[in-house]
């Protein structure tokens, strides 16, 4: 979503993005003229008249599970976004019985929070696991 019109979205997709991604952008490119939606989400820069790089993860119940906001000159890490979605999906599928520790990614161990784990995380989770 940006403040650009759907016509500009079409031009950008057809003339540039479709050369980067086969078939073009596979999801809706939303237009927010005037930044009204961006304002409600707290990421519209009124002075510049544009939206900053806000990214929101919204779960199937419509609940915001996470967000990240960057100023314009630095791009996002899409892999990190996908990792967070996978982690939240895992937690949701476990109905909250499992938690994804720092550095978790698919295939890595999860934690099962409960009285037995209090003070014992150091035994099962090592700091190297926070990194790849």
């Amino acid at each position: 979503m940006s403040v650009d019109s759907v016509f500009v979205h079409k031009m950008w997709n057809d003339n540039e993005l479709s050369k980067m991604v086969k078939g073009g952008v596979p999801f809706p490119m939303l237009s927010d003229a005037g930044g009204k939606v961006g304002t409600v989400y707290g990421i519209y820069d009124q002075d510049a008249g544009v939206e900053t790089r806000g990214r929101f993860l919204i779960d199937p119940d419509g609940i915001v599970q996470g967000f990240e906001v960057l100023t314009p000159p630095v791009g996002r890490n899409v892999g990190e976004t996908l990792r967070q979605v996978q982690a939240f999906q895992l937690v949701r599928n476990s109905k909250g019985s499992e938690a994804a520790p720092s550095g978790w990614k698919p295939g890595k161990m999860t934690l099962k929070p409960g009285p037995e784990l209090v003070g014992k995380v150091w035994e099962v989770w090592k700091t190297e696991m926070a990194f790849d």
Partner: protein, 83 residues
């Protein structure tokens, strides 16, 4: 007259052409209702509907139509920006 300048934002200089700037206007009009919504993790996202360009068609998307699915909502400064 039109020298090459760093890309910035257009803004009114504050007065009619050929006249000195007048007093600055107050912050514009965002309705109280829109202002009140605050994003909090663990709380519901504000719903919206917006015009969209989607796979060759002009359509409209509403966030609440995606209930039951995971949504990644991304904002960015503008089409054809670089990063």
């Amino acid at each position: 007259m039109a020298e090459e300048e760093k890309i910035g934002c257009a803004r009114p200089t504050g007065g009619p052409v050929g006249e000195p700037p007048q007093e600055e206007e107050k912050e514009p009009k965002i309705s109280e209702k829109e202002k009140k919504t605050m994003i909090m993790v663990g709380k519901k996202a504000p719903d919206f509907s917006a015009p969209a360009y989607n796979k060759g068609k002009f359509t409209s998307s509403k966030l609440s139509d995606y209930l039951g699915k995971w949504v990644v909502l991304c904002f960015y400064p503008g089409d054809f920006t670089f990063v």
